[in-house]
Amino acid sequence: MSNNQETLLKVENLCQYFGFNRAVDDVSFEVKKGEVFGLVGESGCGKTTTGRSIIKLYNITSGSIYFKGIRISAGIRSYQEQMKTAKAEYAEKVKNTADPAEKALLKGELDAIITNCKKEIKRARFDQKNCDKEFSKQMVLAVKTKYQALLSRASETELAALKAEYKDELRKARKTKLVTQIQMIFQDPIASLDPRMTVREIISEGLIIRGERNKKVIDEKVYEMLELVGLVREHASRYPHEFSGGQRQRIGVARAIIMNPELIIADEPVSALDVSIQAQVINLLNDLRHSLGLTILFIAHDLSVVKYFSDRIGVMYYGKMVELTTSDELFKNPLHPYTKSLLSAIPLPDPIYEKNRKRIVYNRLAEHDYSVNKPSLREVAPGHFVECNDEEFEKYKALLSAQD
């Protein structure tokens, strides 16, 4: 993977709090176009929450998410906190000075910070709400310019048909949402399909919501998708319960790719499947990725599968990203102790090795001393990020250079 690729998704300082529970805490990463980015970690570490925040199933607490350069999600907590601390600092400083001129100066500084923050909050709220509107406006404009040129050139006979088409396209463009270009595949193929809808209804639902009314077009698309994921046309009129687990997951995949997405968030798509069927679904996703040029955010806990499938991997631990690098590098030179513990837990099909395998236990308290020097995500080697403080940073660097 070359570095100068277009960034499709950018997550900046994402925080997602549920009350006091910091499910995701200050996570930043980028996903390049066409790559598979794996997110791993134990259950409850916030990887699914990250995925769901990106697709706007939650209103994020703080931070921003950019998709194709457009901010689709923004939180306001950090600005509120900034204002709070500024006010407290101001009060502290005012207490200590008697000089009215300096007081006025401080007041001015505070006001500047507050207006700035308020502006940011306003902007964040606006982006959060209106990112889709902006996008559909652009789409409408594109359709208008395209058809106005066509209409002006059109002959009498074509005009009526063209006008109808124009109207239809315009309606669809108005309904288009940016976020529909991100689609999700869910973990449980049984729970994520409505048992009372036929496969055709399930797969076409998104298209209909987007404004497609032509039944023929819808059917054609559904058939195309079914064939793409390895099912046959006849399956369209069946109900989900008539399918096996692997086939159900294929339906989930078809439902996602019919929207012609650029980014797919696959949330543990193979965890609930048998090993043999798991291989079928992974192969399918791999084929689709190459043929459709998909970008995939792959969330899973099975490290062998993630290693096999992903280009880059981010390791999460209790809401924090602790290590982020290419998948080969991660398995070759794991630096963070949590990553090491995670890797030591992978079972391999080798009884002799397995009987001697020792799992490394990770204890955050015993492992690091962050009482003085706070950690942050730093680039230890090009493209290899690890959460560490100054002291550990040097240690990891030395470790890496010693291995080379």
């Binding site: 798991q278 791999n286 992978i346 397995e354």
Partner: protein, 723 residues
């Protein structure tokens, strides 16, 4: 090794609206004590059905068509529901796949954990009492017959001895129980203190008030005559009492120094206490009951043990052991006589089953007589149940039924075949090409059934003969000790009454054992407050609460992530080692069984297609289905496309005539579609059912991915070993 469970020729089907689904088609395996057997296969292969049959919880539409599951000398398929209550959950426990649906959502975790303990506690008490009494009585009877020989005074003395054993054994357990509670609290407190001190030093002490309180109660509970006593006990109480007050003060001021120094003092006392020698309570119980003195001699524990032991040995134990040994020898000789009789009877009647044509009436009546005779050879004082003898009757009867059933079925089958064949030939003669094939007649091999009957008898004779020769060379001293231990264990079952508070303490200990932090807090929570891994741990804890013999794990880690999976597997492995559990581990993921399983059975479409030790399966598997399973999972070095198994498992309403895997098998030969392959023996431990192993079959190597992987693993291991 002692075999715990035998599954023989088990066949189960389900009635559905579309027809009969044949879920399990004649599987055989056995499970030794302390062994893990993994059953691997896709969903729908019948692995869960097998485990449910063992537990007797098959769905209502199931039909058990044949076979037997022998546990503890009983056929689990034939015993009543009443009897099953004593086994299910108590002797054989199960961990289910989905922890959410196997916990009750509206009952707190604590109650769910203790419920069974409280219910089973009473039942177990009754049962232990019953076993204890029965064995003691048998022992007494045998003792009198062996040593008294009509001497009534001697007989009275012997029966008096047994009674006094009964009496002081209870005293012993009472003392030991008290000691155990105190000793355990002390050990626990020491472990807790280590954590608490560590967390305070790291300035990350959480949930403090609660933990300090529990530390205090544990410290106080460790006061006992033999753990912390006298002056030390007073000191301990003095240090432990003010702990909560100290903690609240420390929390306010942020200065933990005083609290830490106090805890360290407690730690010092308890650490010494834990290291103390344990007194011999067995001897002490006898001394206190029969010496007529209420006080023990004032001596250090080691010396006291010697004195008490000597007192016990001189007055009671040596002669009791000698008598018990005599009783054992006597009983063994009685059963030897029975065995010799049984052997001669078996040899005499063998020819009944060797005739050209068997007589049904005669065969059945002889079978009954033989069964009775063989059952009589069982030594009532033997605590281990010999499954070969127990299953003799049912095994022979099964074969007889198969033979006579086969006669009727074969005639029908031949008739059907002839009719179909004629029909087919007629069509072909007319120049048509029928789109169906004549299903070959499935003929029961009558000669084989007869051979099996004779084999059953010969095997039992051989087994009895080895037992007979062993009678004179058995180690009766060791057996006497084992018998006395057995009695002791059952007596403890009677004395250990499970009250609510004991159940709670035990539940909390179990929760800790399965790795749940802050168990006291968790005890009061509902299942939805737990994460998936934690829920699974609770399910394991519930399964272990009854201290089972056999644990069936039905995909216990499928819903969990790697770290938790690895922890749970380690946990199961540790528990297996500690408790000598036998485990049946059911999974679809071959990857997880590599470090778990001693033996692996691969199931497909209701049949075991391959079984062997885990080394056999991973390094030299022979069945194409095993190859497919192995090559469809990625490992850390896989880069090429995965070999997914094409298609889906067959519809078991119409099971295929030949090898069930043939349709998805790229190595399938013509014969695979026509006849089912038998189990071919590869080595003593390794068997596989595939025609590829037939001497006439072409040589086929396993897929390249597997060979590459094995080579890669070997290389890696080699490198690691050198380092």
């Amino acid at each position: 090794m002692e075999n715990k469970l035998h599954v023989k020729d088990l066949t189960i089907s389900f009635r559905t609206s579309n027809g009969k689904v044949q879920a399990v088609r004649g599987i055989d395996f056995d499970l030794a004590k302390g062994e893990t057997l993994a059953i691997v296969g896709e969903s729908g292969s019948g692995k869960s059905v097998t485990s449910k049959a063992i537990l007797g919880i098959l769905a209502g539409n199931s039909i058990i068509e044949g076979g037997e599951i022998i546990y503890d000398g009983k056929d689990l398929l034939k015993i009543s529901e009443e009897d099953f209550h004593k086994i299910r959950g108590d002797k054989i426990a199960m961990i289910f796949q989905d922890p959410m649906s196997s916990l009750n959502p509206i009952i707190k975790i604590g109650k769910q954990l203790t419920e069974a303990m409280l219910l089973k506690g009473k039942a177990r008490q009754r049962e232990s009492r019953e076993i204890f009494n029965r064995y003691l009585k048998t022992l007494e009877k045998n003792m009198i017959q062996a040593s008294a020989q009509g001497n009534s005074a001697k007989a009275a003395e012997l029966s008096n001895k047994c009674k006094s054993f009964d009496k002081f054994e209870y005293k012993h357990l009472e003392l030991e129980n008290k000691y155990n509670v105190a000793h355990e609290s002390a050990t626990q407190a020491v472990a807790d203190i280590e954590d608490i001190l560590f967390e305070i030093s790291k300035n990350a002490f959480s949930d403090g008030a609660y933990r300090i309180k529990s530390l205090k109660s544990m410290a106080l509970a460790s006061v006992n005559d033999w753990v912390v006593s006298g002056k030390k006990a007073e000191e301990l109480v003095a240090f432990a009492q003010p702990l909560p007050a100290l903690f609240s003060r420390a929390k306010k001021s942020g200065d933990y120094a005083e609290l830490v120094s106090n805890i360290e003092k407690i730690n010092a006392i308890l650490k010494d206490a834990v290291a103390l020698a344990q007194p011999n309570f067995f001897a002490m119980g006898y001394y206190l009951t029969f010496s007529g003195k209420n006080e023990l001699p004032k001596q250090p524990v080691e010396e006291l043990n010697v004195t008490l032991r000597k007192y016990l040995d001189d007055n009671f134990m040596l002669s009791f052991i000698e008598d018990a040994k005599q009783a054992l020898i006597y009983s063994a000789n009685v059963s030897k006589k029975e065995m010799l009789e049984a052997i001669s009877l078996l040899n005499e009647n063998k020819k009944v089953y060797q005739q050209e044509i068997l007589d049904k009436k005669q065969a059945n009546s002889v079978c009954q007589r033989l069964t009775k005779e063989v059952m009589e050879t069982i030594d009532p004082l033997n605590t281990k149940k010999d499954s070969l003898i127990y299953t003799f009757g049912t095994g022979l009867k099964n074969e007889i039924d198969k033979y006579f059933g086969g006669i009727v079925k074969n005639a029908k089958e031949i008739k059907r075949y002839n009719k179909q064949k004629a029909d087919y030939d007629k069509r072909v003669a007319r120049g048509k090409e029928p789109d169906w094939k004549v299903v070959p007649a499935s003929i029961t091999d009558l000669e084989l059934a007869k051979k099996n009957m004779v084999h059953q008898i010969e095997r039992t004779v051989a087994h009895l003969e080895t037992l007979v020769t062993a009678v004179d060379t058995r180690d009766y001293d060791a057996e006497t000790v084992a018998l006395i231990d057995f009695l002791k264990a059952n007596a403890s079952g009677v004395v250990n009454k499970v009250t609510k508070s004991i159940a709670k303490a035990r539940a909390i200990k179990l929760m800790k054992e399965v790795g749940i932090s802050e168990p006291r807090k968790r005890y009061k929570q509902y299942p939805f407050e737990f994460s998936g891994g934690m829920r699974q741990r609770i399910v394991i804890a519930i399964a272990l609460a009854a201290d089972p013999d056999i644990l069936i794990c039905d995909e216990p880690t499928t819903a969990l992530d790697v770290t938790i999976q690895s922890q749970i597997l380690e946990l199961i492995n540790d528990l297996k080692r500690e408790r000598q559990l036998s485990i049946i581990f059911i999974t679809h993921d071959l990857g997880v069984v590599a470090n778990m399983a001693d033996r692996i059975a691969v199931m497909y479409a209701g049949k075991i297609v391959e079984y062997g030790t885990s080394e056999d399966i991973f390094y030299s598997s022979a069945h194409p289905y095993t190859w497919a399973l192995l090559s469809s999972m990625p490992d850390l070095d896989t880069n090429e496309k995965l070999d997914a198994i094409p298609g889906t498992p067959p519809n078991m309403i119409y099971p295929p005539v030949g090898d069930a895997f043939a349709a998805r098998n790229k190595y399938a030969m013509k014969i695979d579609f026509e006849r089912q392959p038998p189990m071919f023996k590869i080595s003593d431990t390794h068997y596989a059912a595939t025609w590829l192993l037939h001497p006439d079959a072409p040589k086929v190597d396993p897929p390249k991915t597997i060979l590459d992987r094995i080579a890669r693993m070997k290389e890696k291991r080699g490198v690691e070993n050198e380092q």
